[in-house]
Symmetry: C2
Subunit: 456 residues, 2 copies
């Protein structure tokens, strides 16, 4: 049984490990386009900030660790085309030499690429994207060689926010340019504005409602121009406006694509082509609340989908249980986390959402170092179903695992009222007898009760 | 509609607030035995440690805040007997004056009392219990007046552990005497031993397998003697060996008692006597996994049960969804949390438990300050059902809200395999693509798979 995996990031490595775990006799090979299998690309901002001293520590596992499991790594082998009838994949190694790999089952985990927005001059040296290790080496080299004093980040999403933090830590004056009203558009604008204030407290300039149109060079500096007469001079540009699935290889095999051009897969991570599975940032992701595919490329999801693809490729029957779009980010001392649907997403999906927002202490205020957090719970008015939640608070106040309590409830189709009944842990240094999450659920219910009148 | 509530701690106040919220026209009165309604008695150790400077800040709400909701507080009114036919409660105020209060509905929240073990000399001055504000004032006065250099804590449970921390913070040399093999018997002995090491690192002496038998006074110091020739001289003793329900009042009304002598209630918090509800540490608590009553006195549960009693007393039909015995405690820099059943409890309940234990980092180890935590998941072998979990880790690593993820899963009758599918949040400073909880669930499954053979 020859299992061939294309892609050495989260999905591909997870697939290989799971397959080998379940079927030790399988021949499992992974073709990795670069020389950096199993790197935590979510960690790149922390490498560039200097918080991670050695880029090698970004590896989830070393090459030796992977090979010790009996997995064959074909480094610097780029897959070009798939011949599904012959069950072959044409690859080119870094010397340009072509060869043909055969498979009984194929798992495609080719990931995504950075979106290149239509900006004149985007090819200018000093303009960077950030996705793979090579990208981060380019940025690092530029930071060390050119010692830029200023940087413009195009895009106020997760990577933009983390890089704003990272470059500020390195003493660089940062400007964030975001086309929408607020940064971090995946959470409520209320949180986007609070995050903007945190950035501004750290001397970062945040420019919203602005589309960058051109990058030119004048007297050795880059001039960035955009809508609303935006113009700024800078030493460096980082573009982080999203990602698009890498599907050329799969399409050469006849795999269908759907939403955002991502590969269409079933919940067993099977493509439409016999014996070809796909997982991670290159595929559509089943949404557990919407009960339909979305495009939600996340490392957590890639790990899960890869594990399922690997299991099923060796004869298993595992199913992906769906994503809730759960995410967390730490920016300076702030943590912002979300799960499920936002109010706007819920409306678009046909729900009748109602949001309760509560500001409260992370633990009993009499115990030292209590800090305020803001919790928002979104529920469906007619059914009471919990649709989503967002929390913004300080680092060290269990914001991210509090969102996970709600993610776990939503996974189980809970109502907002179920949150009140949960038996959650309490000790004064860490929570309150009603956890903040439950206080917010009570606030949500109170509003509902006011509408419907009290019993008795 | 006259609602009378006996008891001004968690259950009683929660009942009053909920009733008034749902039926603003109700006359809601609370007879409070002492002058300290709605105090966070879980906070007493932090007051005695000096971390909470002013005992007044231990109040969840001030008297003014409670009264501003239209709730009548009868402070220093001790209820003596209930006449269920006449619907009256005989009370005595602090001057000794007797009176009779009437009710349409009665909620009894008389709480629990400290267990007094059969130790000769337990009445010796300098021997303390810790439950109510008056207890903590006595301890505080003794600490200030006598400046004890040493203290013996009898009992290595939650309060004993927190007081060991508290008195050490105040510069007192502490000895903990525990009758069992390990301290904190509510968690695995493995964790009990790790906690013991943490105590010993802070110069606390821990004596296990020892029953204290007598306390005598010699030359101004107390001599504590126990089994195994145990003998120690000390300036102060604190006894914390558990609590027993306070039910005399309810029994005077004809309310039945059950397990541990606690009041028998249904899941609507109704006693067997018409129009009398009861909640909190004085009642049996429905266990969600065992599906039968237990005695599990906890502040979180008292709040929930009180809220339900208050709702139902004004005509509602809320039901208590059950306890999982979820608890957390912080001792020095260590946090220990549990939910659901331990392995021994699971066996006694007729399950076939299997435990997986995993030591791993709280977040990606490449990001600074990653710390190790140990997670144990207990599942039922034949069904795969998740029965319980315990985590021990460092303060600041989201241990308590990680246990709550599992508590939420267990609330929903999840299998261990469901934990792997959960869409939990991830960012390198706060977790890993598989949260530690999920890694432990995978370890649990791996063992099962090894037993049953791989698919394909």
């Amino acid at each position: 049984m020859d299992l061939l995996i294309i892609g050495g990031s989260d999905a591909g490595i997870s697939a290989a490990l799971r397959a080998k775990e379940l079927m030790p006799s399988a021949n499992v090979s992974i073709a990795v386009a670069d020389g950096f299998p199993n790197f935590s690309i979510c960690g790149l901002p922390f490498y560039l900030s200097g918080e991670v001293a050695d880029w090698r520590s970004l590896a989830h596992r070393t090459i030796d660790e992977i090979e010790s499991k009996g997995i064959r790594l074909l480094l610097r082998h780029r897959a070009q085309t798939v011949g599904p009838k012959q069950r072959t994949v044409a690859v080119t190694d870094h010397t340009g030499r072509r060869s043909r790999l055969t498979y009984d089952r194929l798992v495609i985990g080719t990931g995504a690429a950075s979106v290149r927005p239509p900006i004149n001059g985007i090819e200018t040296p000093g303009v960077f994207f950030l996705r793979w290790m090579a990208d981060s080496f380019s940025v690092d080299r530029y930071l060390n060689d050119k010692q830029p004093k200023s940087a413009v980040l195009i895009g106020g999403g997760y990577i933009g926010m983390e890089m704003a933090d990272a470059l500020t830590l390195r003493g660089i004056k940062v400007t964030v340019v975001e086309f929408a009203d607020t940064v971090l558009g995946t959470v409520t604008p209320v949180f986007g504005k609070m995050l903007q204030e945190e950035l501004e407290r750290h001397q970062i300039q945040v420019v919203t409602n602005t589309t960058v149109e051109s990058i030119t060079v004048r007297n050795g500096a880059m001039i960035i121009k955009g809508s609303n007469q935006f113009e700024i001079s800078t030493d460096m540009v980082l573009v982080a406006v999203g990602s698009r699935p890498e599907t050329a290889l799969a399409r050469s095999a006849g795999c269908r694509t759907g939403l955002n051009g991502a590969l269409t897969v079933d919940r067993h991570m099977r493509t439409n082509v016999q014996d070809i599975f796909a997982a991670g940032d290159c595929v559509e992701t089943w949404h557990r609340i919407l009960q339909k595919p979305t495009y939600l490329p996340l490392g957590t999801t890639a790990h899960k989908q890869g594990r399922i693809a690997g299991e099923n490729a060796v004869g298993g029957d595992a199913a992906f249980e769906g994503s809730l779009g759960t995410q967390a980010v730490k920016i300076f001392d702030l943590v912002v986390a979300r799960t499920g649907l936002g109010e706007r997403e819920a409306k678009m999906a046909g729900f009748d959402p109602f949001t309760a927002s509560l500001e409260t202490w992370d633990h009993k205020v009499y115990y030292p170092n209590a800090r305020l957090m803001t919790i928002r719970i979104i529920g469906d008015r007619p059914t009471g179903r919990c649709l989503g939640a967002q929390i913004l608070g300080r680092h060290g106040t269990e914001v991210s695992k509090r969102i996970d309590i709600i993610a776990t409830a939503i996974y189980n189709d809970s109502k907002v009222s179920d949150l009140v009944h949960l038996d959650l842990s309490y000790t004064p240094p860490l929570s309150s007898p009603w956890d903040p999450v439950q206080m917010c659920a009570q606030a949500w219910l109170r509003e509902q009760e006011r509408g419907s009148g009290a019993p008795g």
